[in-house]
Point group: C2
Chain length 245, copies 2
DNA sequence: CGGCTGGTTGACGAATCTCAATTTCGGTGG
DNA sequence: CCACCGAAATTGAGATTCGTCAACCAGCCG
C-alpha cells in the first residue's frame, strides 16, 4: 500500500461482472465497437500495474470506471505523471516501456483491454476503424499538448486553474463542478509541484472566491474567467497582452 | 521581423529547386514515399507561418531543412512552444488551429507538404502506409511525452540538461556535439523559463565542466552522466532514489 | 558609424521547495 | 459504538531558485 505498487495480477472479473461491464462498454457509435468481441474486462485495485499480459505486444485500453495514470520516475526519484486517464478514455499500453508505468489509481478501476495485434489486423481490413484510430491518436496528442500548457504555467495557481478547467471539460458531473478523481499527491505529481503548493493554491483560489470546496474531493468553479486568466492576479508585474515590443 | 510573424505566402520553389529538394526527400524506405508524388515543396522564411493552404483540411509535412515550431500564446501573453520540428521529422498541421501557430524559425526552412485528404485516401487502400501512420503517431506522442519530462523538471539546469540530451538524440552532428538550431529566446519558450535563466543555466553547466560552448550555437557534452542526473548537483537537499518511504 | 537583434551578467523581490507540525478523514478492531 | 491508527490534507517558517528590471557586450547590416 505504499506509493510503489506491488505487482499483482489483475483479477479478471467473474463472468457475471464481465457481462455487466461489457454492457457499459459501447457508449459511442464507434467503429471501435467491433473490437468488443476480443476485449478482456479487467478489474484492478489501486496502485496495480496495468501491463500484465506478456503474450501481447501492447494493448489498447478503454477505461470504464476509475482512473489510471501513466508515470515515469526521474533520476532524482520524483515521479512525473505523463497522462491521466478518465472513464471513456482510450489509451495505449506498450509492453516495452522501460521506466514508464501505467497503473490504476482509483479504487475500483475497470477497463477493457484489446490486444494490439488484433487491433492492427482488424484495422488492415476496416477503413473506418483505421481512420478512427488515426483520429484517436490526434486526440491523444492534443490532450498531451494541453498538459504541456499546464506544465508550462508560471505560477502554481495558474497550473491548478488550467488543470481544473481541463478536468471539467473532460469529466464534469455537472457544469461548473469537478470531481477530483485523485489525491493531492497525484495532482502534485501531475502538475510537477509539491503537495504543499497544491494545497496552498487551492486555499488561495478558495479565499479569493474563485472556487469552492465541497468536501475535499469536489470543487465548484465560481469564477471561470478568473481561472482562465492565470488565476486572476498578475504575478511579478508581468504585463499581459504583449509578446513582442 | 518582430516576434509576431507577418503572414506571408510561402514561396514555392522553382521547378529546379523543387527537384533538388525532392531528391532529398525520400531518405528512408518508408511507405510514405508513395506520397512523394503529391508532395508540394515549400521554402519558408524565418517567422513565416506554415498553414497557408486554405483548400485543404490540414496537411502532413516532412521537414527537409531548417526548423519549425508549433506554439501557442497564453492569456498573459507568453508564448509556449509545444513542439520543435527538426529535419527528417514528420508533423501534422491542422487548419482549424485557433490559437496554435506553426512557423519556420530557421533561415532557409524547406519542407514537403502532403494534403491530408490525399494521405487519408491512400491510407485507406495501403495497409503498410496506414500502419506507418499509426507508428508515426505513437512516435509523435512519445516525443511530446519527452517534452513533458523536460517541462516537469524542477530546476532550470535540469530542464536544459534534458533538452540538450533530447536534442543530441534527435539531431547529433557528431556524438557528444549538439548544434542548437534556435535562439536562446526559443529555448526559453520551449523550456518555459526566462531567457536570462537559460543563459545562466548554460553558464553554470559550462563553469562546472559539464558542457562546453563552441561559438554560441554549438555545444559539446563533456559529462553526459552529470547532465542526466539533474545537472549534477542536488538542489535543496533532495534525496535521490526514494519515492516512497 | 548607428541601430538592431541576440546574448550575457548583476541585483532585488516574488514564488516555490523542504522540513515540521497539526488537522481531517476513513477504516479497522475491540 | 467508539477508540485508534495511518494516510490524506493543511498550515507555518526558513532556505533557495527563478523572474523582472537594468545594464552591457557582440555581431551584422545599411
Amino acid at each position: 500500500m505504499t506509493c510503489l505498487p506491488e505487482k499483482v495480477t489483475p483479477m479478471k472479473g467473474t463472468m457475471h461482472a464481465a457481462d455487466h461491464y461489457r454492457r457499459m462498454l459501447s457508449v459511442e457509435p464507434h467503429a471501435l465497437r467491433r473490437l468488443d468481441g476480443s476485449a478482456t474486462i479487467l478489474k484492478c485495485h489501486r496502485d496495480q500495474e496495468i501491463p500484465d499480459r506478456p503474450e501481447t505486444a501492447g494493448h489498447w485500453c478503454y477505461l470504464i470506471a476509475g482512473a489510471v495514470r501513466r508515470s515515469k520516475i526521474r533520476p532524482d526519484g520524483r515521479r512525473q505523471i505523463l497522462e491521466l486517464m478518465l472513464p471513456r478514455d482510450f489509451f495505449f499500453v506498450s509492453d516495452d516501456q522501460r521506466e514508464e508505468t501505467v497503473e490504476a489509481i482509483a479504487e475500483p478501476t475497470v477497463l477493457a483491454s484489446y490486444p494490439a495485434e488484433r487491433v492492427d489486423l482488424l484495422a488492415d481490413r476496416d477503413r473506418e476503424l483505421a481512420r478512427e484510430l488515426r483520429g484517436l491518436s490526434s486526440q491523444l496528442l492534443r490532450r498531451t499538448r494541453d498538459q504541456l500548457m499546464i506544465l508550462g504555467g508560471v505560477t502554481a495557481v495558474e497550473k491548478l486553474g488550467w488543470f481544473l478547467l481541463a478536468l471539467e471539460k473532460r469529466a464534469s458531473d455537472q457544469k461548473g463542478q469537478v470531481e477530483l478523481p485523485i489525491t493531492r499527491y497525484d495532482i502534485a505529481e501531475y502538475l510537477s509541484v509539491s503537495v504543499e503548493t497544491v494545497c496552498r493554491a487551492i486555499t488561495d483560489l478558495q479565499q479569493r472566491g474563485i472556487i469552492a470546496l465541497v468536501g475535499t474531493r469536489k470543487i465548484k468553479i465560481l469564477d471561470r474567467t478568473a481561472l482562465e486568466e492565470h488565476g486572476g492576479k498578475t504575478p511579478q508585474g508581468r504585463k499581459p497582452g504583449l509578446i513582442a515590443a
